[in-house]
Every structure is written in structure tokens, then in C-alpha cells.
């Protein structure tokens, strides 16, 4: 019997209702170590709700979510030790310096040799000259980098990113993509949500497409291409529209027969 592959994120039959409105319905997927999974979908598809539920901020209405084997609802502290979450809008502590943010993370996650590690991280993310500046004086791109530095410092098993490249300059985008790839090669899993389909296509091993809170496709680009009759080198954008529009539109009368 083959040994089952370890999973850093396991989402099983997850559902989330806000009153009578079902934001996510019966969603199941898993992310393995070193894998980069992209979460795509139109506005209101349930991407942020899913990410927030995985991070333990929202409570699932149905199903279960495990991070590195820890149920995020029953054992939240152990689960939260395993991941880093970067939301779409970064809200740092305005009056804390860049270094103080990293100090706080180092203390919260009991990071060994924190000073050595964050010095290297600041270099990598081109934040060294900003280390003593308070967060309120940083630009949006710099804040995004600070958030990434806080995430990488704790050496998480999985990094959850909601729109990770918002506000970054071209050089910053290239650096972040390289950082993500390098860490994924080292075994860190990434679950990222983005509307930039080109980025998802270039970076992700597998793609999860959500529509109105339901999973309509999950797999590698090649696997998803099978769902829609497209040519073999169709881009993710073509696949995305083919898959979502096929699901959204009623079946053509000619096809009914």
C-alpha cells in the first residue's frame, strides 16, 4: 500500500454561511509541502472567506480544516504555529519600526537567532535602509515587503497570501516571485489568492477555481485544460473563462439532446 503524501493544508467539505447566504459550499482540497497553489475566482467567489477560515479568523459552518494535521478549530494555537498569513490590505502597527515588528514576530513564534535571520531577510527584501523607520512612514510597497518579512521570519510550513503583489514595483515583484520559488523548493507550501492570472500561471503548480462559493476546478493547468475543449497551449486566462462561463451559462439547446 503506497504511503499517503503528507499534507500541510487539508480542507474537507468546508462551508461558510453568513446568515442565509452561503459564501462557500462543500469545498475540499489539499496542499502538499513545497507546492504552490493558486486560488482564483471572480469577486465574491469565496476566496478571502476560505483563506480566513484556514487561518482560524472565521469559523467554518460545516466541514473541517487542518493545518499540518492540527484542526484549526479544535487546536488553533498549534495550527497557527505552522502558517503565515498576509492579507490583501496590510495593516501594520503605525508607531512600530520595521525592526520592532520583526522583534514581535520573533517573540511570538520563539524564533531562534532572530537577529541574524531578520538581517538577512531585510537584505533580501531590500528593507535594510528602512529598518528603523516607523510603519506609518512606509509606502504601500514597502509595507507589503514588511509583511512578507514578518511571514518568512517565522519559517512557516505554509504561507497563505491574499493578493501578494499589490503595490509592488516591477523589481519588487520579481524579487518576491524568486523568494516564493526558492522557499517552495525548500519545502514551504504556498496558497495564494490573486486576480492576476498571469502571475498564478507563472508561479503555481496547481490552481483552484472558485465560483459563487463552489469549487469548479482543481488541478494543474494541464488537468484543468481537460475540462474545457481548448487547444493544448491555452493560457490560464482562456481556461478560466472557458471553465467559469461554461458553469455559469445555461446549457445550449443544441447540446440538450
Amino acid at each position: 500500500m503506497p504511503h499517503p503524501q503528507p499534507r500541510v493544508i487539508e480542507v474537507e467539505h468546508f462551508g461558510k454561511n453568513y446568515g442565509h447566504f452561503a459564501a462557500v459550499h462543500d469545498l475540499s482540497f489539499a496542499v502538499q509541502p513545497g507546492e504552490i497553489v493558486g486560488l482564483v475566482g471572480a469577486n465574491g467567489a469565496g476566496k478571502t472567506t476560505t483563506l480566513r477560515a484556514i487561518t482560524g479568523i472565521l469559523r467554518p459552518t460545516a466541514g473541517s480544516i487542518r493545518v499540518s494535521g492540527h484542526d484549526i478549530e479544535k487546536d488553533p494555537v498549534a495550527g497557527k504555529r505552522q502558517f503565515a498569513y498576509i492579507p490583501d490590505t496590510v495593516h501594520p502597527y503605525d508607531l512600530l519600526t520595521v525592526t520592532e515588528h520583526l522583534h514581535f514576530i520573533a517573540l511570538a513564534y520563539r524564533v531562534e537567532n532572530a537577529e541574524r535571520q531578520y538581517t538577512a531577510l531585510l537584505e533580501e527584501l531590500e528593507l535594510s535602509d528602512k529598518k528603523d523607520e516607523i510603519a506609518s512612514s512606509l509606502s504601500r510597497g514597502m509595507l507589503q515587503k514588511l509583511s512578507l518579512a514578518c511571514a518568512f521570519l517565522r519559517a512557516p510550513r505554509v504561507v497563505i497570501l491574499d493578493e501578494p503583489l499589490t503595490g509592488l514595483d516591477p523589481r519588487g515583484i520579481r524579487n518576491i516571485k524568486q523568494s516564493i520559488r526558492r522557499r517552495a523548493t525548500a519545502g514551504t507550501a504556498f496558497l495564494l489568492s490573486s486576480h492576476l492570472l498571469l502571475l498564478v500561471e507563472a508561479l503555481c503548480d496547481r490552481v483552484l477555481i472558485l465560483q459563487r462559493g463552489r469549487k469548479i476546478a482543481f488541478g494543474s493547468l494541464e488537468e484543468i485544460r481537460q475540462l474545457a475543449p481548448l487547444h493544448t497551449d491555452a493560457s490560464l486566462e482562456d481556461v478560466f473563462f472557458a471553465v467559469t462561463e461554461k458553469t455559469a451559462d445555461p446549457v445550449e439547446p443544441s447540446n440538450r439532446s
Binding site: 480566513r52 487561518t55 482560524g56 479568523i57 472565521l58 469559523r59 488553533p76 494555537v77 498549534a78 497557527k80 504555529r81 502558517f83 503565515a84 498569513y85 492579507p87 496590510v90 495593516h91 501594520p92 502597527y93 503605525d94 508607531l95 512600530l96 520592532e100 522583534h103 514581535f104 514576530i105 517573540l107 511570538a108 513564534y109 516607523i134 509583511s147 514578518c150
Partner: protein, 556 residues
């Protein structure tokens, strides 16, 4: 308590302290701080006065404790979830902290507040208390217990449905009313509930429930309350009695803390919603936008106006009129206020006419002076009214960048911005004039004065306040914090009186040096000329500000 959370709290406290001290470089902050220090010094200087002794009478202390307890529970329950700073959601909610650790972190500022409050209480009231230190410590512990209850109520409030929340809220208000009525009756002998409520007929409706009188005059309860509210200073107590007081308050703080930590509810989801709501509210406040969000999300779109009145700069007036038609809450509030205000003035006029018709004679010039006084008070209504009509730069402050690109002159834009609130002020004042005219008409000359005078006043007031709104908006556009300090608002309020000084002075001088029947019209004419000139200058200043403000990278 987690080490990381303690580090975060201390660093933030230190930074906020330093930030506050640095903020004193701004004149308005310095004036506000100096005013606070001065106020506290005055209180400290007069701390031995009898009025301070009245404040620490047992009745007052019990009343204060009831307000603290009831207020904490109610305000906490109303929040429906704990309020955090937005960064807390990102850094604390997803970090490996237990829910209890986060709740304690959230309570740390409250503990500090209770400590400071206890010290201020000790400094101000020590001379009137038999055991000042004990009382201050007890008060501090009571405040801590109140914070625990408020936090618990907030968490509990977030777990129940909207419908249940509304019901419990009204039930709490009902209970508070009964308790307040009972307290006022027993402690201060004040009867809040009118006597007809205790009539046999009314009691029939509540049978077999006990009436307030029954409860208030219940011997056991009355004896207990009188014992509690025994007037005068603390009587001499044995040491064990002091210790028991301390024990009870410390016990209540510990018990409430234990209960709070025992709450099984999930705080993250409700707190996320509450924190987001509060953060949005703060942003709206900083941007000078209305805090009330329209309940309806869909309106029937207004038709494209056909007249040329709303073309060009008139489009801004049209936009404000549409917004006004959807701001029912503001209009109802303004209407209610006008009704009360003019009702009072009309009652004064009615009373005078009633007394005169009953035989009290008053010379005609004095009646005319009385009427002019009432009209002057009605003129002052615009001062309150313009604050209730946010259809000007208050609402458009954050659209300044877009307005700069419109093909209209800054002067026309400034004038258009203050047109709608000025028109609304005049409309509501016209209602007041009609109400006053029920008790006798004003002569033609007075009506002419009203016709020309009221617009000058309304225009000046709206001009002054819009200068303030526009300056705040330009500050925001420059990336600076936009919310005005109380000192700034006070200065604008003072300026909105001073703006009438030049015209008033000229009017008085003309009146002083001219005689006969032409004196009054001449004085009024002079006043009017100067006042409209001042109004023109105000609009010109608004236009210059619109034209010159700098746009930073943040506002682009």
C-alpha cells in the same frame, strides 16, 4: 500573559506616549493639553470645597457605581464583539496566541486606565474620605470588574442573533429605567414616575406585579437602602470591616475575570466584524464624511434635469440636492430641532400677547424690541442648522482632486458648495418666521430686514464653517490627519461670531450718528453692505483655497 504580547503592549505604549508629547508642537494640541492641565489644577486647588464632599457622599458613590456598572454592561453588549486595532487582526488573530491571552492583552489598557482613575480620585477626594486609600483601591477594583463585565458582554453580544440582541437591549434599558427610578426615589427622594402611574387604575394593568411604591416602601429593602445611603462621612470601622470591603471588591474583580476567561465563545469572527466596522467609522470621521450609512442600498435614480439651472456649476447643486433628498435622518433631526427652537420662541411671543390681552400694558416700542429680540434668536438658528446639513465641502472634501479638473471657476465652485446648506438654513428659518407670525404679524419693514438680513447671516456662517471643512480636506489631501481637534472646532465657533463684528460695529456707528426715522434703515443698510462684503470675501477665500491646495501622492 504572553511575553510577545507584553513586549508589543509596552512598545506601543511608549511610542504613543512619545507621539503624544511630540504632538504638543502643534498649537491646537498644546492649547487642548494646557486646557486639560488647567482644568485638573483648578479641581485640585478647590478640592477641599464642600461640593467635592457632596460628590463622595454614599448616595453619589452608589449612583456613580450604578452608572459604571450599567454603562459597562450596556456599552459592551452594544458593541457585539471586541474592538481591536486593525493591525491586531493581522498580527494577533493569526498568531499562535490563545483566545485568553488576546483577551488579557485587550484588557491591559483598561487596567492602566483604572489605575490612573484611582490615583486622580485619591488626589481630588482624599480630604473628604475617612479611608481615602481604601476607597480609591476599591474604586479601582470596581472599575476593573466593570471592564471585565463589559468585555464579557461584548463577547456574548456577538454570539447571539440580531433579533435576540435587539430584544435583550430593550430589556436592559427597561431594567435600567426601573433601577434608576428606584435609586432616585430611595436615595434622593425624587419621583421620576408620575403619580398617575401609581393610581389604582394604572395598577390594574400590572396586577399582580408589584408597583414601584411597593418596592420603594418595602420595609426590608428600605432599611437596607437607608443603611447603604447613610449620609455623612464613613463612620469609624474596625479593621476587619475595611478588609472585608477590600475583599469584596477584589473578589468581584477576580470573579468577573474568571467568568470572562470561562466564556466559551469564539472571539475572532465577531471581533473581526466589529473592528472592521469601527475602522471604517474612524476613516469616515477622518475624511469628514457622514458617519450614518444609508440603510437602503438601492434608490430610484433621479432623472436628468432639463433646465439650464443645473448645467455647469449647477450640477454640484443638483448633486447636493439629490444627496439631501436621501438624507432623511439629517432632515428629520433638523426639523425636530427647529420645531423645539421655534416652539420656544413662539411660546414666548404667545405668552407676551396673552399677558397683554389680559390687561398688562406695554409700550409699542418695547413690544417691537421684544419681537426683534426673538427674530435675532431665530437668526441664530442658522448657527445650529448649518452643522446639520452636510451638503457642502464636508461631503465633497475628498473629491477635491476631481473637482480641480471640472471646467468651472473656483469661485463658482465655492459658491455652489455652500448654496444648498444656506438654502436649507433659510427654509427652516422661514418656517420659524411663519410660526412666530401666528401670534401677530411683523410690519413690512421688519419683513424686509428678514428678507435681506437672514441670507447674509446664513451665508456668513456657512462660509466660515466651510473654510474649516476645506482646510481639513486640504490637510487630508496633503497626507496629514484630517480630523479636527476640539480646540480647532472651538476656534471656528468663536470665528463664526466674530465674523459679524465688522458689520455690527458699522451698523451701530451709523445708528449712533444718525437720527430720526432714517436712522434704523440706514444702520441696517450699512450693516447689510458690510456683511455681504464680508460674505463675498469669505467665498473668495474659499475659491482661493480650492485653487491653491496641494495634492500629495496619497490623494492622487
Amino acid at each position: 500573559m504572553n511575553r510577545a504580547l507584553l513586549y508589543l503592549w509596552f512598545v506601543l505604549l511608549k511610542r504613543r506616549g512619545l507621539h503624544g508629547i511630540r504632538g504638543l508642537r502643534r498649537p491646537t494640541s498644546l492649547i487642548g493639553f494646557a486646557a486639560w492641565v488647567f482644568f485638573l489644577c483648578v479641581l485640585f486647588h478647590y478640592r477641599d470645597e464642600a461640593v467635592f464632599a457632596q460628590l463622595v457622599r454614599r448616595e453619589s458613590l452608589i449612583g456613580g457605581a450604578m452608572i459604571m456598572l450599567g454603562g459597562s454592561l450596556f456599552m459592551g453588549f452594544l458593541q457585539r464583539g471586541l474592538v481591536f486595532e486593525p493591525p491586531d487582526v493581522e498580527f494577533l488573530f493569526t498568531s499562535p496566541f490563545t483566545q485568553r491571552q488576546i483577551v488579557v492583552y485587550r484588557l491591559l489598557p483598561n487596567y492602566l486606565y483604572a489605575l490612573v482613575q484611582g490615583l486622580v480620585f485619591l488626589a481630588l477626594f482624599a480630604s473628604h474620605l475617612k479611608h481615602p486609600l481604601l476607597t480609591a483601591v476599591c474604586m479601582m477594583l470596581f472599575q476593573v470588574a466593570c471592564f471585565h463585565l463589559a468585555t464579557g458582554a461584548a463577547i456574548f453580544g456577538g454570539t447571539i442573533s440580531e433579533q435576540a440582541h435587539v430584544r435583550v437591549r430593550w430589556m436592559m434599558l427597561g431594567v435600567y429605567f426601573v433601577m434608576a427610578a428606584l435609586y432616585l426615589r430611595v436615595a434622593w427622594d425624587l419621583k421620576v414616575v408620575p403619580s398617575f402611574m401609581s393610581s389604582p387604575l394604572t395598577q390594574l394593568f400590572f396586577y399582580p406585579a408589584a408597583t414601584l411604591s411597593d418596592i420603594g416602601t418595602e420595609p426590608v429593602l428600605r432599611e437596607w437602602m437607608l443603611r447603604r445611603t447613610n449620609t455623612g462621612a464613613f463612620p469609624a470601622r474596625a479593621l476587619w470591616e475595611s478588609a472585608s470591603y477590600l475583599g469584596v471588591f477584589a473578589g468581584s474583580a477576580v470573579a468577573s475575570f474568571w467568568l470572562l476567561l470561562k466564556l466559551r465563545a469564539n472571539i475572532f469572527e465577531t471581533s473581526l466584524a466589529t473592528t472592521t466596522r469601527k475602522a471604517e467609522r474612524r476613516v469616515r470621521l477622518q475624511q469628514g464624511r457622514s458617519l450614518a450609512v444609508a440603510n437602503e442600498s438601492r434608490f430610484r435614480s433621479a432623472r436628468l434635469p432639463k433646465g439650464s439651472l443645473f448645467h455647469g456649476v449647477g450640477a454640484i447643486v443638483w448633486k447636493h440636492l439629490i444627496v439631501a433628498s436621501r438624507s432623511k435622518r439629517e432632515l428629520v433631526l433638523a426639523g425636530a430641532f427647529t420645531l423645539i427652537y421655534t416652539g420656544f420662541l413662539a411660546a414666548l411671543r404667545g405668552l407676551l400677547h396673552h399677558l397683554m390681552s389680559a390687561g398688562g400694558e406695554l409700550p409699542a416700542p418695547q413690544v417691537a424690541d421684544f419681537d426683534r429680540g426673538l427674530l435675532a434668536m431665530l437668526c441664530f438658528l442658522a448657527f445650529f442648522m448649518q452643522r446639520t446639513f452636510p451638503f457642502d465641502f464636508r461631503r465633497d472634501g475628498h473629491h477635491l482632486v476631481g473637482f480641480r479638473t471640472l471646467p468651472i471657476s473656483p469661485f463658482a465652485l465655492a459658491l455652489a458648495e455652500i448654496t444648498v446648506p444656506t438654502a436649507f438654513c433659510l427654509a427652516f428659518q422661514a418656517f420659524g418666521v411663519l410660526a412666530l407670525m401666528i401670534f401677530g404679524g411683523f410690519d413690512g419693514r421688519v419683513l424686509l430686514y428678514l428678507l435681506f438680513g437672514f441670507p447674509a447671516v446664513a451665508l456668513a456662517l456657512n462660509g466660515v464653517w466651510n473654510l474649516h471643512y476645506l482646510l481639513a480636506a486640504t490637510k487630508r489631501a496633503g497626507g496629514k490627519p484630517g480630523s479636527a481637534s476640539p480646540v480647532e472646532v472651538l476656534m471656528v465657533a468663536v470665528l463664526s461670531f466674530l465674523i459679524f463684528y465688522p458689520a455690527g460695529w458699522v451698523g451701530l456707528q451709523i445708528g449712533r450718528y444718525t437720527f430720526g426715522s432714517y436712522s434704523e434703515p440706514l444702520a441696517f443698510g450699512g450693516w447689510l453692505l458690510i456683511q455681504y462684503s464680508v460674505d463675498f470675501l469669505l467665498v473668495l477665500m474659499l475659491a482661493k483655497l480650492v485653487q491653491r491646495f496641494e495634492v500629495s501622492r496619497d490623494s492622487q
